[in-house]
Every structure is written in structure tokens, then in C-alpha cells.
């Protein structure tokens, strides 16, 4: 498995774990009280920092298991990466549009913050899934 594919598996696993942890916590809180009373800022910061730190650790471990492959990438890797990133960016933009609409209708800060958060996480997941699929199936830039 190419290092960049391993790296995308790390992003996907960490994103799913982060989303599951934060999502479960948020839903649990939302069941008991109005969303305006949920202290979501600190858990979200922990979640974002955790996502970044775990990704770095995961990549370091992936590189350590096969150091010779860690700094290797070629044209196909770059094309797959660009393709996946483009799809991830679409998801982030879609999430930003949702957040914009929520702001326009004066929704609670909870919804706006979480819309942006989920857009970021889903963008990372969509991007990594696209790249992993591209690594295994036919992939043509043109």
C-alpha cells in the first residue's frame, strides 16, 4: 500500500472516531436541554485538536512502518490527491453555504458552529474515501 493511501486511511479512521465521539456527546447533551444551553465550544475544540494530533501521530506511525516509502509520491499520487481534495472542498463549501443560511435566519450559534464543524469533518472523510477508492479502482485524469 502506498504511503499516501495509508495516510488517507489514517484521516478516515480518525475522522470517523472524532465525529462519533463528538456526535455522541452532542446528541446526549441535546436530549436533556435546549441547544442554546449546551456548552459545545470546549468539546468541539478538543475534538478539532484531537483530530489534528491523532492525524499527525497516525502519519508518523505509518511512516515509521515503512520509512523508504514515506517520502515517495508520483504523478498518479498527485492526480488522485488533487481529485480527492476537490471533492472534499465541494463538501466544505456546501457546509459553509448551510452555515451562511443559518446565520441569515438568525439560528442559534450552536447550529452555525456545528454546521461548519461537520462540513470540515465530512469534507475530510469524503476526500479520503474518494482517494482510497481511486487507489483501488480505475483512475484516469482525462
Amino acid at each position: 500500500m502506498a504511503f499516501l493511501e495509508k495516510s488517507n486511511w489514517v484521516v478516515l479512521v480518525v475522522a470517523v472516531a472524532t465525529l462519533a465521539t463528538y456526535g455522541t456527546w452532542t446528541l446526549t447533551q441535546a436530549l436533556g436541554k435546549p441547544v442554546s444551553e449546551i456548552g459545545w465550544v470546549q468539546p468541539m475544540i478538543y475534538s478539532i485538536v484531537g483530530f489534528v494530533v491523532l492525524n499527525i501521530l497516525g502519519n508518523v506511525i505509518a511512516a515509521a512502518t515503512n520509512p523508504k516509502e514515506a517520502d515517495k509520491s508520483d504523478q498518479r499520487d498527485r492526480e488522485i490527491n488533487a481529485f480527492g481534495e476537490r471533492l472534499g472542498n465541494y463538501l466544505v463549501i456546501a457546509g459553509a453555504c448551510v452555515a451562511l443560511v443559518l446565520t441569515m435566519v438568525a439560528a442559534d450559534r450552536f447550529w452555525i458552529g456545528n454546521a461548519i464543524y461537520f462540513a470540515g469533518i465530512l469534507g475530510a472523510m469524503g476526500s479520503s474515501v474518494t482517494k482510497i477508492v481511486a487507489y483501488h479502482g480505475p483512475f484516469q485524469k482525462w
Partner: protein, 76 residues
């Protein structure tokens, strides 16, 4: 992204004709990863023209001895 390439290749046969060259050896000579050589060999990825020339050079043959484009795929 998922459309299959119509370009076929003789990389596998050329590798065996060149002292059973491994995919890793060919990857090193061309300067790509082994996974990319596997993808090209299996027809899952069409290399750029420059990479195609590098592969042909690694075998010491002409480009059309490595890659072929079937006549049936030409425009009617």
C-alpha cells in the same frame, strides 16, 4: 474518474523478457511507486506521455511496443 482506459500494454511480457524484472525494479527505474506500476500494468491507470516514454526507455524499446491503442476504439 472510473472510466477504464482503452490503452493496453505489454509491460508484463516485457518485464519477463528483460530478465524477469520485478515491478519494484521497473518502478525504481522510472521513478514512480510500485503501486503505480501495478495500476498501469493492470490497465487501471494511463500514464502521462512522459512517463510512458520513460517506461519504454527502461525496456529499451519503442513506445508502441509497450503501449497499444486498439483500432476498434477509433472513431467510426
Amino acid at each position: 474518474m472510473v472510466k477504464p482506459t482503452h490503452v493496453t500494454n505489454s509491460i508484463r511480457a516485457l518485464r519477463f523478457a528483460n530478465g524477469e524484472m520485478t515491478q519494484a525494479d521497473l518502478a525504481d527505474r522510472v521513478g514512480v511507486t510500485r503501486q503505480t506500476v501495478i495500476a498501469i500494468e493492470q490497465g487501471k491507470y494511463s500514464p502521462s506521455l512522459e512517463m510512458a516514454f520513460q517506461i519504454a526507455r527502461a525496456f529499451g524499446v519503442r513506445l508502441d511496443e509497450v503501449f497499444q491503442y486498439p483500432d476498434s476504439e477509433e472513431k467510426p
